[in-house]
């Protein structure tokens, strides 16, 4: 297990009620599982199909397997549509 930092943007920030915090998760995990954990732990169900995840500022896709390290930054990014 590793402790990683979560960064929330836009609607994810509203739902999580904060802009960042930490979570402890398995170091080897698929992106789908990672998303599932984050959605469940931070109550993001309503936007779970329209989120992209980046790890250390690199986008990950659902079928990727991720090797996380202590202190990695995972950004939870829903689209913004206003202007």
């Amino acid at each position: 297990m590793v402790k990683v930092k979560l960064l929330f943007f836009a609607r994810a920030r509203e739902l999580a009620g904060r802009s960042e915090d930490f979570i402890t998760i398995p170091e080897k995990i698929t992106c789908v599982e990672l998303l599932e954990i984050i959605v469940k732990e931070r109550s993001l169900q309503e936007i779970q199909n329209s989120i992209i995840l980046s790890i250390n500022e690199q986008l990950y896709h659902t079928d990727d397997i991720v090797n996380l390290r202590e202190g990695d930054e995972i950004a939870v990014i829903p689209p913004l549509s206003g202007g």
């Binding site: 500022e57 690199q58 202007g83």
Partner: protein, 381 residues
Amino acid sequence: MLVTGIGLSGQIKLKSSKVLIVGSGGLGCPSAVYLAAAGVGEITLVDYDEVELSNLHRQILHTEDDLGEPKVQSAYDKLHCINRNIRIIPVNQLLDSNRMKLIMSKTKYDVVIDGSDNVATRYLLNDSCVLNGVPLVSGSALQTEAQLTVFNHQNGPCYRCLFPVPPPPETVTSCGDGGVLGPVPGVIGVLQALEAIKIIVGLNGLLSQRLLLFDGINSTFRNVKLRSRNPNCAVCGDNPTITDLIDYEQFCRASAHDKVGNIDIVDESSNVSVQELFKQLGKKIVIDVRPKVQFEMCHLTHTVNIPFDDIIKADGVLKIQQLINNITVQEVYVICRRGNDSQRTIRFLHDTHQDSMMDLKNVRGGLHAYSQYVDADFPVF
């Protein structure tokens, strides 16, 4: 232009270029200013909306004198004063698939700027740009955050590669409801112009395959590295399933604008007018269900704030019951900004507290109607 890497050839490219800017609002205004001033030869502006006072903090081409004017006309007038040597074409229309097809068939654009304010238009512009092979400079902003990227350029992804499924409409907050801090779309609109200039001139360093996240509160820019286009994408993939524009309002289950429609979900007998409310102020219990921040900005005297979000999620119902138990009159008026959340409140309490003695009345049209029909000095936003 004196800047190294642009020079005479770059200026000529700008002069012979054509840019479509969709939305003459918080993103489109700053974008258009810089593109016009840079000498982009032809700029087409598309917007259906009219200038309102609440636009002026961010939509910098419009002034108090323009209130009620079509935004594209107001924008045209100012841009024409900035540069009389370019062609500016105002199109005062709400964009849909057919109109977009017509616009794209008439002119071969070098760049499209997405300065729209809704999800349906974002998918429409994306698909149209993919089908016509035009790069899309996509900016968006809400409250204190913004995003910017270049889609459909140099084998980079399109909007659908990132977001194949539109967000559920009830999770989408518009600038009209959530608010937006003026300089936030300003920053992004200016950067959209910069990306457009770089595409036209042929400079490197574009925000293609990169997503820029701007946080206005912490003054931070983050660059998220994206991948090349998704070969399985429905529109730009190797075997696309979308080969023609579709009905985007249906696809997104939301309108192609950010105006709020009026709902009608309570019985006619549960409605009261704003005139009736005015007579009963101080006599009946009136609950204002707007968010606390809106109540603090302005509210009617003798009204109590219990936000709709508290009623459905937290202890709001208990507060209402306590309020009512203290007196004998059981008729309670519910009011909000436009008369929608007040109906949702009544519906929610009806469904969840059928045994209650409360007789809830919806103040039809909310505080907007109050301002319109009872007291013009009551502020609306």
